[in-house]
């Protein structure tokens, strides 16, 4: 039965090799916890959508096991699919249907009785109620994406996959979407999302998984990853160029840049520790008679961490 701590999805050794020989998933092991938002990051063609497809029944795995809610997906697919929702990457639906019809269809397809109150609640939450009688073809791209979310929520899934939920959506709508996703999590829905917007993962995800060439390279708490791999960078624009870092400052992770006109500090751990080191450095620079006219301090974000990780993996071949 369901384990006490609530691993809602357990994937072991999942491999998908297509007929042409391309391996999209290569022994993926991944566990998703109940109630979390998990962001799956990876470059194009990394295997994100294939992984989601394998869980949701769109892709036939070549090998491996998928367990959802403590039960084997292959054996209990009827009962388990009822508890899983999917918002696909593509705007794939019959464009001549009305919003209300297509959401009611989704609910019925998953075997549930019509529930006008529930459907109205979903449509209102996604600001679609006023558009309920409109044909999908008349809606903007952002609204169509909301309809796909409404369709996926129509059967009240406990585990929801969002494949690039904010692709092609403007900034305002994207933030609105984030609020909806957070609200779903508040209601107890476990969410797995793929995204190209690293900011999105940084903003919402409890944990982040990085997939590359069909392999999971890393899974970690978002904050822990930021803390472990994050860095503070401080650029001191010098009043006068120098040819070398003064010996007395050697312990401060400093380097020269811009032909000796800037002194660059890189350090910290992503928790803000770097900022206190920069504060100490400002005093040390003055103490060593190093004059500067400007300081630019910034923290590395998840995107930089992500890019660095991928580059490091590429440099070292297959990686972890």
């Amino acid at each position: 039965m369901f384990p006490a701590m609530q691993d809602i999805l357990e994937i072991e050794g999942l491999t998908k090799t297509y007929d042409g020989g391309f391996t999209a998933l290569n022994g993926v092991d991944l566990t998703i916890r109940k109630g979390e938002i998990f962001a799956l990051l990876g470059p194009n063609g990394a295997g994100k959508t294939t992984l989601i497809g394998a869980v949701c029944g769109l892709v036939q795995p070549s090998s491996g096991t998928i367990r959802a809610f403590g039960e084997d997906m292959g054996r209990h697919w009827r009962t388990l699919r009822r508890r899983i929702g999917l918002v696909p990457q593509e705007l794939a639906t019959d464009m001549f249907e009305t919003v209300l019809h297509t959401v009611n269809y989704s609910r019925g397809l998953f075997g549930l009785a019509p529930d006008a109150v529930r459907v109205e609640k979903i449509l209102r939450a996604l600001s679609l109620w006023d558009k309920r009688e409109e044909s999908l073809s008349a809606l903007s791209g952002g609204m169509k994406r909301r309809v796909l979310i409404a369709k996926a929520l129509a059967h009240d899934p406990e585990l929801l996959f969002l494949d690039e939920p904010t692709a092609g959506v403007d900034v305002e709508l994207r933030r609105d979407m984030w609020r909806h996703i957070s609200a779903l999590r508040e209601q107890g829905t476990t969410i797995i999302l793929t995204t190209h917007y690293i900011e999105e993962a940084e903003e919402m995800a409890d944990r982040v998984g990085i997939i590359q060439k069909g392999r999971i390279r890393m899974v970690e708490e978002t904050r822990a990853m930021m803390a472990r791999l994050g860095r503070t960078e401080a650029v001191f624009t010098l009043a006068a160029p120098m040819s070398a870092v003064p010996e007395g400052l050697a312990g401060h992770s400093l380097s020269l840049a811009e032909d000796g006109r800037a002194l660059v500090y890189r350090g910290g751990d992503g928790t803000g520790q770097g900022k206190s080191e920069v504060a100490a450095l400002t005093k040390a620079l003055i103490a060593h008679g190093v004059d500067y006219i400007a300081i630019d301090i910034r923290e590395s974000n998840l995107e930089e961490i992500f890019v660095n990780l991928l580059e490091n993996q590429s440099d070292t071949g297959e990686g972890a």
Binding site: A92, D94, S106, G108, G111
Partner: protein
């Protein structure tokens, strides 16, 4: 959860019928109009000068089962094919594949709707034919059963076609290049016994001959072959289609990547 989710099947069925209503001009009026034209030309206009080959049956009445079969086979195939090809084409099939819906619900929903459309069309054609030719049905219950059997079989065949097809051209190709010509040559407008050899023997290789004659027997109690031959042919085709679709669902061919 049971092995058959009736609500899911009913939802697919209703959804498909709603889609047909949205395209009523294409689904009902177009085939009805073309069939009526056949009745006008071959029934009312020149039918009076032709022999049917069946005792006591006018030529106008003789072609009613054949024309009904011609429409049924073409429309059932096309309806079954487009029903599943459209969600494949738009990508909306993701929802079907990710839902707790299996082989049985999908077939009942899609093929049931396709067959229903064919039955409605058949009823309209038979009613309208009365305006052009005079006919009497000897075995009305058998007509209903045979029409149901043929509609279901060719809706299943269309379903296979819709899964096999990779383009709209392929979906439209089989009904127009194979089903309709074979039915046309399958005794729709003439008795096979009127053909000289070797054409009669060649015609016997056409499976549509048996279906047209089966329905004709149900109408008038006489045909080129015993009705049991036609019935067995239709049942065999039905079983073959179901077996193929069961295999498609088991392997995920052209459905799951």
């Amino acid at each position: 959860m049971s092995l058959f989710n009736a609500r899911s099947a009913w939802t697919i069925y209703k959804h498909e019928l709603a889609r047909a209503l949205r395209t009523a001009l294409q689904s009902i009026i177009a085939p009805l109009l073309s069939t009526m034209l056949y009745f006008v030309v071959f029934g009312a206009a020149i039918g009076g000068r032709m022999e049917s080959g069946l005792e006591g049956v006018d030529y106008g009445a003789f072609i009613v089962p054949g024309l009904l079969m011609l429409t049924l086979l073409s429309e059932s195939t096309a309806n079954g094919a487009f029903g599943i090809y459209m969600p494949r084409f738009t990508g909306a099939i993701y929802e079907l594949l990710s839902a707790p819906v299996g082989f049985a619900e999908t077939l009942v929903g899609f093929v049931g709707a396709a067959a229903t459309k064919s039955l409605v069309l058949a009823a309209i054609i038979l009613g309208t034919a009365r305006f052009f030719v005079d006919y009497t049905i000897v075995h009305p219950v058998l007509v209903l059963g045979f029409v149901l059997l043929v509609s279901a079989s060719f809706s299943l065949f269309g379903f296979i076609l819709g899964i096999w097809a990779k383009s709209f051209e392929q979906v439209g190709m089989v009904p127009s290049l194979f089903v309709m010509p074979l039915t046309f040559l399958g005794g729709t407008f003439y008795s096979i016994d009127l053909l000289p050899e070797p054409w009669r023997s060649v015609a016997l290789a056409n499976p549509m001959v048996y279906l047209v004659n089966g329905l004709r027997w149900c109408f008038y109690g006489q045909a080129d072959f015993p009705v049991i031959v036609s019935l067995l042919m239709a049942l065999g085709f039905l079983a073959l289609c179901i077996a193929i679709i069961a295999r498609i669902f088991a392997t995920g061919w052209r459905l799951r990547s």
